[in-house]
């Protein structure tokens, strides 16, 4: 660094952490959702901590294929 400015370093870290929090949030939520049952997801608001169905969901996806509908979308 060119000069010593502790407050600027603090801002830099804060901006980066905030940016990563926003950018990583969709990925995190998707991961959490992949460890829950469909009922838990549909029960608004869904929990934001990983559940216990990770193995079940991934083996379903890899070996058996989808069992439920796609995410909601509207018609064009």
């Amino acid at each position: 660094m060119v000069e010593h400015r502790p407050w600027l370093n603090f801002i830099a870290h804060a901006v980066l952490i905030a940016g990563i929090a926003v950018i990583g949030f969709p990925l995190y939520v998707t991961f959490v959702a992949s460890t829950l049952t469909l009922d838990q997801i549909l029960n608004v608001p869904m929990p934001l901590t990983p559940g216990s169905h990770l193995w079940e969901n991934y083996s379903q996806a890899l070996l058996a294929g989808p069992r439920s509908a796609r995410p909601p979308r509207s018609a064009a």
Binding site: V2, L8, G19, M46
Partner: protein
């Protein structure tokens, strides 16, 4: 003293470039010419008869309110995606260039969305903001926002802009970071010795020296918003509600594949081709004349 290696055989060089030329002709020129040809014809919906109609398809398009609206939507969409994507990633790259501790972790985490396919990114955001079960929808409703992008065009637009920007931030970030690291330290130190603070150094030294990168990213991002956001739009809104997110490339797909109007769709893709060529020309002219130092 020319030291060029030349082939003595007359046909060997042509044989060596033939595969590449063949690929280009089959996968680029042929479809392009085909689209050009189709754009002067009208096909019936079953593909049984075609009729040559000259420029009628283009005439119909420019009198079609939906098409003109799609132009406006595309313009707004690409300006928002390119503008916010560049602004956010420039901010993050500047900050990441400054920090020393944890820099690798920050960079790694910020590059993640680049590994996500556009259609998957669309599904992620549609899931987060789903009108019925989305977690962000829940938070917004708690905060008093009436969030339902399946009904409200502005919100659908906002959502696809956010998803498309999110997808592109990593790419911009990488280029900005590389650009920032190639700026000579001595310039910045000299300015600091002269008494310029961080903000002044950024606007008078760093930002002008980054301008080739910024301009390159501007063109790449606009082309991205024009064409590669198809997956995002298709996965989230499918052009809806009521055509509020129906950008040009999505309309080409919809009219050609879903509505079986090959002629009109081809005319639209010819217009899109012209737009790409224009953008590319602007890029080369502008990059070569104005931004180089």
């Amino acid at each position: 003293m020319e030291k060029r290696v030349v082939f003595r055989s007359a046909w060997l060089p042509y044989a060596l470039v033939a595969p590449q030329i063949a690929v280009t002709i089959v996968f680029f020129f042929w479809p392009a010419v085909q689209a050009f040809w189709f754009s002067f014809q009208i096909q019936d919906a079953f593909g049984l008869r075609t009729e040559f109609v000259g420029l009628q398809n283009f005439g119909v398009l420019f009198h079609d309110q939906n098409y003109l609206r799609s132009f406006q939507i595309t313009a707004m969409f690409s300006v928002l995606v390119a503008g916010s994507g560049i602004a956010i990633s420039l901010l993050l790259a500047t900050m990441a260039d400054r920090v020393v501790r944890g820099a690798l972790a920050y960079k790694t985490l910020l590059i993640w969305p680049y590994a996500v396919a556009p259609a998957v990114a669309g599904v992620l955001w549609a899931f987060l903001f789903a009108p019925s079960v989305g977690i962000v929808t829940y938070a917004l409703r708690r905060a008093g926002v009436d969030w339902d992008w399946a009904l409200q065009g502005d919100q659908a637009m906002l959502l696809v802009v956010v998803a498309a920007t999110w997808k592109q931030i990593s790419y911009n970030f990488l280029f900005f970071l590389a650009g920032l690291q190639s700026i000579p330290r001595s310039l910045i130190e000299a300015a600091a010795i002269d008494g310029a603070g961080p903000a002044r150094r950024f606007w008078t030294i760093v930002f002008p020296l980054l301008s080739p990168t910024t301009f390159f990213l501007l063109v790449v991002n606009i082309v991205y918003a024009f064409f590669e956001t198809f997956g995002v739009i298709d996965a989230i809104t499918g052009g809806g509600p009521a055509g509020a997110t129906n950008i040009l490339v999505y309309k080409v797909y919809y009219d050609g594949v879903k509505a079986a109007d090959l002629g009109g769709s081809s005319a639209q893709s010819v217009i899109l081709m012209i737009i790409v060529v224009a953008l590319t020309v602007v890029q080369f002219r502008f990059v070569e004349r104005k931004v180089q130092y």
